[in-house]
């Protein structure tokens, strides 16, 4: 064993605190350290994942308290894949932002601290087995996200951040309420324990708890009425942060929501609710996206739509559906991050980030533009890129579950998505550059980061078997509630002996 899941939280957190200290000694270290940490985590995650796929879930107990009482970390195939994905995205985004704020040491320091916090929080959300612990991680993520959103002083980023904060703090209170409810009913905070005792809860309280959870976690999962902050935050945050939101934070939010709905309670109607809310999110945000005139807002709205799609896929509830949802999640993480990363270079030197300002960039930034197009094709779901498989598996899962109307709806919404992405691609390649824009060449590290994402898209597109085996196991792991409970609780018993 190379290490245990706790390292995923401890190491980056430690790194976050070490950055300012090391920065005093060697300025370059603040850039190198996060990368090293993330690389280590990535290696660790992949090793652990491989192990988990063969031997089964790893449950780590913190501070020696047995699971029903203490905090535990669960590295199951499901959580493991998500954590690996997040760390991978974190690493790629680190490569991309290695030269971020090259001249401004203080700013860069802040950025890397907050970024590490963000990764810590998100990975923590996924790995933890305790709802209150999850709440804390959510808050860590949120606060660092607020700060990262407000990173640029000269833009309207404070406004975006404040909106995020208002909505975020409101709903975190609801999350707390939900936790209170559960605790008052069951007297436990451990997820597995809650899951095993959920039937003891009064049904009204259970529903109430679910509702509060949905509201509390929906903010990070970006479901419809709670996602007003998303376009603002994505658009105003620095490019890599936007990518991190799309690639890391949302995934954590969706995970939390899915965990609550699939494992904690078996309230009837939640799956249908997921579908309804996912469809609503998708439809409204895609409709908003097509009318955007700013690139990043468009990408943000599109991100919302994608997450809606993921929620619908989860809502199907069958193993196939979850498999498809995971596929879509991964595709979205990779594709949308690529779009954010390359998109921020396409509109690098423009103040307002209008889509029209990407005109003619294909000539000046060929690689970036190509990768943007690739990302767009992947997100839209054009074969033979990765997005297609996700969409296809999702469709066939829905068809197996006899949800044809939903497929039709999703497809018609996808049409909208296709239109606005192709509009941008057209602009990039076939319009004349606006004279006041000076294109900014991407730095080498940025190109490497983006190209890595592009290559991943192509690989998954041509050879989906690469990940589908893992994903099948992950979806089985999510569905097999009993095994989860048994894994977590039995570990506790094993340790006491």
């Amino acid at each position: 064993m190379v290490g245990s899941p706790v390292l995923f939280i401890a190491v980056p957190l430690l790194a976050a605190f070490l950055i300012p200290l090391l920065g005093m000694v060697w300025k370059e270290s603040i850039r190198i350290l996060p990368g090293l940490v993330l690389l280590y985590m990535l290696v660790l995650a992949i090793t652990l994942l491989e192990q988990v796929m063969h031997t089964g879930t790893i449950v780590e107990i913190l501070a020696g308290w047995k699971p029903p009482w203490g905090i535990n970390l669960v590295f199951s195939p499901f959580t493991g894949i998500l954590a690996t994905l997040m760390i991978l995205m974190g690493f790629i985004i680190w490569i991309y932002s290695y030269r971020f704020k090259n001249v401004d040491f203080e700013e860069a320091k802040k950025y890397f601290i907050l970024f590490m916090m963000l990764v810590t929080g998100s990975v923590g959300i996924v790995l933890t087995g305790d709802i209150f612990n999850q709440f804390v991680f959510i808050e860590i993520t949120s606060i660092s996200a607020y700060a990262l959103t407000a990173f640029y002083k000269h833009r309207d980023s404070a406004e975006a951040s404040f909106k995020y904060l208002m909505v975020g703090s409101l709903s975190s209170m609801f999350l707390l309420l939900a936790i209170i409810l559960i605790y008052s009913q069951l007297g436990t905070l451990n997820m597995a324990d809650i899951a095993s005792k959920a039937h003891l809860m009064k049904p009204e309280f259970k529903i109430l708890a679910v509702i509060f959870f949905i509201v509390g976690l929906g903010i990070e999962a970006e479901i419809f009425p709670l996602n007003g902050w998303v376009p603002d935050a994505y658009a105003q945050a620095p490019g890599p942060v936007g990518a991190a939101f799309a690639g890391i934070v949302v995934k954590a939010g969706v995970y939390a929501l899915i965990r609550i709905i699939f494992t904690l309670f078996d309230v009837s109607g939640t799956h249908q609710f997921l579908i309804v809310i996912g469809l609503t999110t998708m439809i409204i945000s895609e409709m908003a996206a097509i009318r955007q005139d700013r690139l990043k807002r468009m990408l943000a709205y599109s991100s919302l739509g994608q997450m809606g799609l993921v929620l619908v896929a989860f809502g199907i509830g069958t193993e196939e559906g979850i498999f498809a949802a995971m596929f879509l999640l991964i595709n979205h993480a990779i594709g949308k991050s690529l779009l954010f990363l390359s998109g921020s270079y396409l509109v690098y030197n423009s103040a307002d980030k209008y889509i029209s300002e990407t005109n003619g960039m294909g000539k000046f930034l060929p690689v970036t533009s190509f990768l943007f197009a690739l990302g767009a094709l992947a997100v839209v779901g054009m074969p033979p890129f990765s997005g297609f498989w996700g969409k296809f598996f999702m469709m066939s899962a829905a068809a197996h579950a006899n949800m044809l109307l939903i497929i039709a709806l999703i497809l018609s919404v996808s049409l909208i998505e296709l239109v606005y992405y192709f509009r941008v691609i057209n602009r990039i390649y076939f319009y004349k550059k606006e004279s006041h824009i000076t294109p900014k060449k991407p730095t080498v590290n940025a190109v490497i980061a983006m190209a890595t994402l592009g290559v991943i898209i192509l690989i998954i597109g041509f050879y989906p078997d690469l990940i589908s085996g893992y994903l099948h196991q992950a979806s089985q792991a999510l569905l097999d509630k009993g095994k989860y409970i048994q894994d977590v609780l039995s570990t506790g018993q094993l340790l006491t002996h």
């Binding site: 209150f132 804390v136 808050e139 949120s142 606060i143 607020y146 700060a147 407000a150 002083k153 309207d156 404070a158 406004e159 975006a160 951040s161 404040f162 909106k163 904060l165 208002m166 975020g168 703090s169 409101l170 975190s172 209170m173 707390l176 309420l177 936790i179 209170i180 605790y183 008052s184 007297g187 905070l189 376009p231 603002d232 658009a235 105003q236 908003a288 009318r291 955007q292």
Partner: protein, 137 residues
Amino acid sequence: MNFTLFDLKIVEYSFFITAILVIMIGLYGALVKKSLIKVVIGLSIFDSGINLLLISIGYITSGTAPIFSPALVKDMPLTLENIKKLSEGMVDPVPQALVLTAIVIGFGVTAVALSLVIRLYRHHQTLNIDEIKNLKW
């Protein structure tokens, strides 16, 4: 009307009622007031209300602190029955721990919020939330 019962209930529910009142006040502040400062204050109040609610769950009327002091334990052997008996009148400590964490988080959020308010004021020269709408649709 059963006087004693009512008397007891009102004490027991008073925490809840107060907490909900505080939450409502907080919501009013956060959702209706136009000044950013007042919104932040409202959020804080809302926060406090939730914390109050959280504490009230673990609270038992006229309970004792959840500490096994030597005076309390005296010479009792630490069997499961004894612990159960002892802890009967005790207030549940977990909500309190949670609340402590929540307060800290709330503090952090409020601090970030206030700093954002300062930034917003510098940027927009106003604290009216309706005028800070550069980002929309």
